[in-house]
């Protein structure tokens, strides 16, 4: 009896040790080492939530997207070795705030005043506007028509902030989902009348689902534009290195090149430069 117990104890101890061992060995899974770290130089680790095509998403086991290409250009300009890891949204927020394991986050993070209390941002690198997506034949024409309608958004995004401000945060007609994918499914299944999301997301979804007959509505008047920036811990020294590099990449045409690759159109650079000041 006693021998049996000891045997069980040993087996579980061995299992625990081996599981923990595997965990620390495969630490690098999902991380794409880029930039070629040279000896002695500290690799800057970026966290992202790769669930936001086409800005950042997983292509099989690789993190790709506009943000990732843009970051590559910036880090090349700055001459710093770096890595990007797909940590998911919450882990990104918590670890960037700490700043020990991950020194920065790049994940279509919009600049808002509430968030500035807890983080620093680089200068903006992307202008985004929110768009309304409805089924064909819907009577919704502008943001004001959303009053009294069921609206689905991805929680915590600026789309969420905008509709919360327009219609009240505790309005039961606003449904906040974990991802835009689920919000769009809610629209498809008839649980919502409209989805509000970043123009890049809406464009990508309509492109990928041509048979569903969704249309996107732009409403510049009610949805002001917002800017994405790289998320940094408070007082980060990286800001001084990244800001000039971002500025250069935007000015020297690299930015426009990447933008055209992902969105097929020319970006409005002057807006970004004005917002940077």
């Amino acid at each position: 009896m006693n021998m049996k117990k000891w045997g069980l104890f040993l087996i579980s101890a061995i299992l625990t040790v081996s599981i923990v061992g595997c965990g620390s060995n495969s630490n690098g899974s999902g991380e794409g080492a880029q930039g070629g770290a040279s000896e002695g130089e500290q690799v800057i680790k970026f966290a992202t939530d790769a669930n936001y095509a086409p800005m950042e998403y997983m292509d099989k086991d690789k993190i790709v997207g506009f943000d990732i290409d843009f970051l590559a250009a910036v880090m090349e300009e700055a001459g710093l070795p770096y890595e990007v890891a797909n940590t998911g949204w919450d882990t990104m927020l918590a670890s960037v705030r700490q700043g020990t394991e991950y020194q920065a986050g790049i994940s279509s993070v919009s600049i808002t005043e509430d968030r500035k209390a807890s983080y620093d941002y680089t200068i903006p690198y992307f202008e985004s506007t929110n768009m309304i997506m409805v089924k064909e034949g819907s009577d919704i024409q502008s943001a004001l028509d959303l009053e009294g309608k069921k609206v689905a958004v991805q929680g915590g995004t600026t789309a969420d902030i905008i509709v919360s401000e327009l219609f009240g945060q505790n309005n039961p007609n606003i449904s906040r989902f974990d991802s835009n994918t689920v919000a769009l499914m809610e629209l498809d299944k008839g649980g919502a009348d409209a989805v509000v999301a970043d123009n890049a997301i809406v464009g990508e979804y309509i492109k990928n689902n041509p048979t569903k007959h969704f249309i996107g509505i732009t409403d510049v008047e009610n949805f002001g534009s917002e800017f994405y920036a790289i998320l940094l811990p408070k007082g980060s020294e990286l800001k001084a290195k990244l800001d000039p590099a971002i500025k250069t990449v935007i000015e020297n045409g690299k930015y426009a090149e990447i933008y055209e690759k992902w969105f097929g159109e020319t970006p409005d650079i002057t807006v970004l430069q004005e917002a940077a000041e």
């Binding site: 919450d90 927020l93 918590a94 705030r97 509430d114 968030r115 209390a117 807890s118 983080y119 689905a152 929680g155 915590g156 995004t157 969420d160 902030i161 945060q169 505790n170 039961p172 449904s175 906040r176 989902f177 974990d178 689920v182 499914m185 809610e186 299944k189 008839g190 649980g191 998320l231």
Partner: protein
Amino acid sequence: MDFRFDIIIDYMPLILRGTMLTIGISILSIILGSILGLGIGFGKMSSRWYIRWPFQSYINFFRGTPLFVQIFIVHFGVIPAIIGRTDPFIAAITALSLNSAAYTAEIYRAGIQSIDKGQREAAQSLGMTNVQAMRYVILPQAIKRMIPAFGNEFIVLIKDSSLVAVIAAQELMYWSQAMSGQYYRIWEPYLTAALVYFILTYSLSKLLNYIERRM
């Protein structure tokens, strides 16, 4: 480390509203799941394999697949097929009840089968029918043994109900995530939610302890 109580206070009305919904969803799911589980538990105890089989399959499916996926299946598949649109509240209760029933079914079965055969035989020798023996002799003894297991299951269910935030059921975790999204902070919303869940589960376990002692 700075901890911003001001944003918790800011969100307090929504946290409270979410807590009320969490309590509502949990209580309804516990009740419906226990009733459904009783039927499934008896079905599984049938001596005929063709009666046993569907109940066994039910338990295998709901215990063997992630609740997260079941919530999506119910919300985007089952409920729209029945009422023609999605409804997060109905989907949340349906998914949690169906899932919980699979676990409670096994608790009923284990409790009933733990009662010595002699009890049933003694009841029958007094002229009781099978149903009477179950109702007056076996169940009263079995239920007392089931209570600790039910306590476990109900506590798990209360915490699992946080998963229905993925279909935008506006419960406690939903508002915690909203708070996190607005301020990009982790500890204030999630520690607040953890505290509320703890209060709920701790009260429930105290209540069940009390019931167990009284029986």
